[in-house]
């Protein structure tokens, strides 16, 4: 099990009700991790509309996750 710190922004924060959580997961990639939390929190946005950053760097959804990674899911926002 990997220990991951997850941070949520914008509508993901609203839908999950938290801006950060620590979890243990078997997810091998950010894509698998998103699928896991999407089901749990009832996220409405598909992965294709989001970007993921791991350890402060944008990553591919299929890149490998390591234990103690810091993952941020970011939806685009447009308010001005």
């Amino acid at each position: 099990m990997k220990k991951i710190t997850l941070q949520y922004f914008a509508v993901l924060r609203e839908q999950s009700g938290c801006s950060e959580e620590r979890l243990e997961t078997d997810a091998a990639t950010p894509a698998e991790l998103y699928e896991e939390v999407r089901t749990r929190h009832g996220f409405t946005l598909p992965l294709s509309m989001l970007r993921v950053a791991v350890n402060e760097e944008f990553r591919d959804w299929a890149s490998p996750l390591e234990s103690s990674d810091r993952v941020v899911f970011i939806p685009p926002v447009a308010g001005g």
């Binding site: 409405t44 939806p75 926002v77």
Partner: protein
Amino acid sequence: MQPFAFSTLPIDTARGREALADPACGGYATFEGWVRDHNEGRAVQRLEYEAYAALAEREGERIVAEAVAKYGVQHAACIHRIGDLELGEMAVWVGVSSRHRAEAFAACRYIIDEVKHRVPIWKKEHYVDGDSGWVNCERCAQPGDHESHADHAATPAPARLHGQDHAHAHAQSHAAPDYSRQIALPEVGAAGQRRLRAGSVLVIGAGGLGVPVLQYLAAAGVGRIGIVDADSVDASNLHRQPLYGVADIGKAKATVAAARLRALNPEATFAVHAERAGAGNLVDWLARYDLVVDCSDNFATKFTVNDAAVILGKPAVFASVYQYEGQLQVYLPRADWPCLRCLWPEAPRDGLVGNCAQAGVLGPVPATLGALQAMQALKLLLELPVESAPALHVFDLLGMHWRTLKAARNPACDHSPRELQTDAIDPAALELEFPTLAAARASGLTLIDIREPWERAMDDPAGRIEWHLPLSAFLQGSTALPREGRYLIACAHGVRSLALAGRLRALGFTSVYSLAGGLAAVDA
């Protein structure tokens, strides 16, 4: 002789006269400023002058050169004392020689006015009662100034270096803000200030982000600013757009903003574009500016701004806010720098990301992001490094986190100029109003509720509309809706349904409509 110099010794006017003498000149005008025995009603005993010499000399030389060029005089010079001066001593001397007297007088007047206005010199007044205080002399009446300033534009309230309580009362109006406090920064300096004045910025949107951007750019002395906003001031804007007041409600934002900014800085030029930025006008507009700051509130405009910047090879400063959060990204026209589409290959459709309800926002959130945009724009104009590496900066002002997420060029994004997105289908053609759901059904349209299951469970447990296809299912591509049907889609307030209707039309659904105002607007 140097055109502008500081002197710690008494000014030798005879030498000055000699240096400016020229057989071609028929006139010689001078001005002398003396230390007088009172200021602001207080008896003055002596004065001390201090200057930021390197900066002050450069600015002084520029003023003399300007006077020579402007009035076509032969020779001009100015000497300013620094150090301790007694009453009656000469603090400043200006000399001008020219073919005719009129130009000599005018140039002499120009030099002394501009020196007072622009050159960073401070004076410490020692009063007869034993007290003393520093006074910023720029644009502040100096001892020996026996002229009235009423006939020229200069003189704001002086910046006090040390808090003395006798305020100067300056009622005169000014031609421009005093930039000395930013010129004093080594990264700005007089050369930087010239860059700002020669610079031009197009600002898209004069709302929560745009207001601070416009204010700080105008205040900093950016020479030309374009303001693009099609909206009018609404009462609900004021809490986060304090450039406007209640008396402006209903007026065009771009026009009101330009008037306010002209009052802030009459020296700058403002172009008003009170229309929506789009594929049809943006490239033409942006071609006339150095860079663009995107303060719009919708994805369609942001991506159009991105495309225009990429096509023209101009920098763009983007920001967006959502409740307590903000995102900031700078695009630079460099091969290694990501654009907005590198980050978001699938340009989001407005209304499909987020909630139906109008997102709430506290004023300082867009104000913070707007101030950061202004900072990045000024750095671009000053030719300072904008950031060490391309990044999306994500701010959470509730939790007070700032994350800098490194972004790279997306190899799948070719960055080559591409067709700008055409404007979406006119929303008016997509929306239908019905007083009741029964009336909607009677129209022959098939009703679809696209709210999420949790919303429906909370607001409408009975399920007024039988067919329930949540928007999230649409977005995940897991619905198969026959294209030939005639649909009326409904959500809580009509925002998401309108966006989805636009998307479905683009996908070939010819008879899909959105319930105007959503289910909140119809009676059961």
